[in-house]
């Protein structure tokens, strides 16, 4: 996978850029998403459903193989969130 272009110049030689998407697990009420959904409806955007809000974590790492472990122990709480490592190009 390609590096995010605007970040390439800043990477140290031994670093890779990674992005981790953390989202509330399916079935868990996301009041923030619900509030955004109501706001979109109020703005006249019809037919918007199931708005869920997560967070995108960008980081530079030397060993992308450790990303799942980072997610399990800190970046996400596996009980309430699911995570996805979007890319970690070297």
């Amino acid at each position: 996978m390609a590096r995010t272009p605007h970040r390439v110049w800043a990477l140290a030689w031994d670093q890779v850029h990674a992005r981790v998407l953390v989202r509330p697990k399916a079935g868990i009420l996301d009041p923030q998403g619900a509030a955004a959904e109501r706001a979109l409806a109020a703005l006249g955007f019809a037919g918007v459903r199931e708005v869920r809000i997560g967070r995108l974590i960008e980081l530079e790492v030397t060993d992308p193989a450790t990303l799942p472990q980072m997610c399990e122990c800190l970046l996400a709480n596996p009980l309430i969130e699911e995570y996805e490592i979007l890319d970690s190009a070297s």
Binding site: L29, P31, A35, L74, L79
Partner: protein
């Protein structure tokens, strides 16, 4: 009997917690960056916004130096009381089941709530038995207790649901109105309401004092 109250950067109820403990026993602060529990008999993790609540409430605090001692202490059967942010820290640290999510209302709630004592047979609640309904304030934005359904069934069956919000008093959307849970062994207890703010009739209620007194009585072996 000596209580230790953990002080993280961002704790804000540590002083009230110490004052509450000091009403029933001795109380000392435990600095987050130390690796020393100073020989305390029980640990209180107080409310506040430890490490700014960055990432998730409690997520960073659980890795504070003092927490490795607190986790060992709890594993050895030591008693730990987590209040509000302390409850969040205990859940993140795996000392307690479940997690705390943003209030359904998305609002900070600060008000007196009525609580029902579900399990009066814990080290934290024994002295409370005659009075099964408690009036204690809550003040939080991240207090919606969550655990998967099967886990909630298990917690209820095992008596680990210690406190519930009285009907109509659930301030945050907690599943099954859960306000406080303990671990399987019963030596770690976390709750969102603030018993340390309810220790004097002057501020509306002294119902919270019983939690501290219970713990003192349980640990001093003065209960029959």
């Amino acid at each position: 009997m000596k209580f230790g109250v953990v002080v993280f950067p961002g704790s804000c109820d540590d002083v009230d917690a110490q004052l509450a403990c000091a009403r029933v026993a001795e109380a000392v602060p435990l600095w987050h960056a130390d690796h020393d529990l100073q020989g305390v008999d029980a640990v209180v993790i107080p409310g506040g916004f430890s490490y700014g609540d960055y990432l998730r409430a409690g997520a960073i605090a659980r890795f504070a130096p003092i927490m490795s001692e607190v986790i060992d202490f709890a594993a050895a059967g030591g008693h730990v009381l987590g209040i509000c942010n302390g409850f969040q820290v205990c859940c993140e640290a795996g000392l307690l089941p479940g997690a705390l999510l943003t209030n359904t209302s998305l609002r900070f709630v600060c008000r007196q709530v009525s609580l029902e004592l579900v399990n009066p047979d814990t080290a934290f609640t024994r002295s409370l038995e005659p009075r099964r309904r408690l009036s204690i304030p809550v003040k939080h934005t991240t207090g919606r207790y969550y655990a998967p359904d099967a886990e909630l069934d298990r917690l209820e069956a095992a008596g680990q649901v210690v406190l519930r919000y009285s009907p109509g008093h659930n301030p945050n959307g907690s599943l099954r109105d859960i306000a406080g849970v303990c671990n399987e062994r019963g030596n770690v207890f976390g709750l969102m309401p603030h018993p340390e703010h309810a220790v004097d009739p002057l501020t509306g209620s002294s119902d919270g004092l019983g939690l501290f007194a219970s713990l003192r009585d349980s640990l001093s072996g003065s209960l029959v």
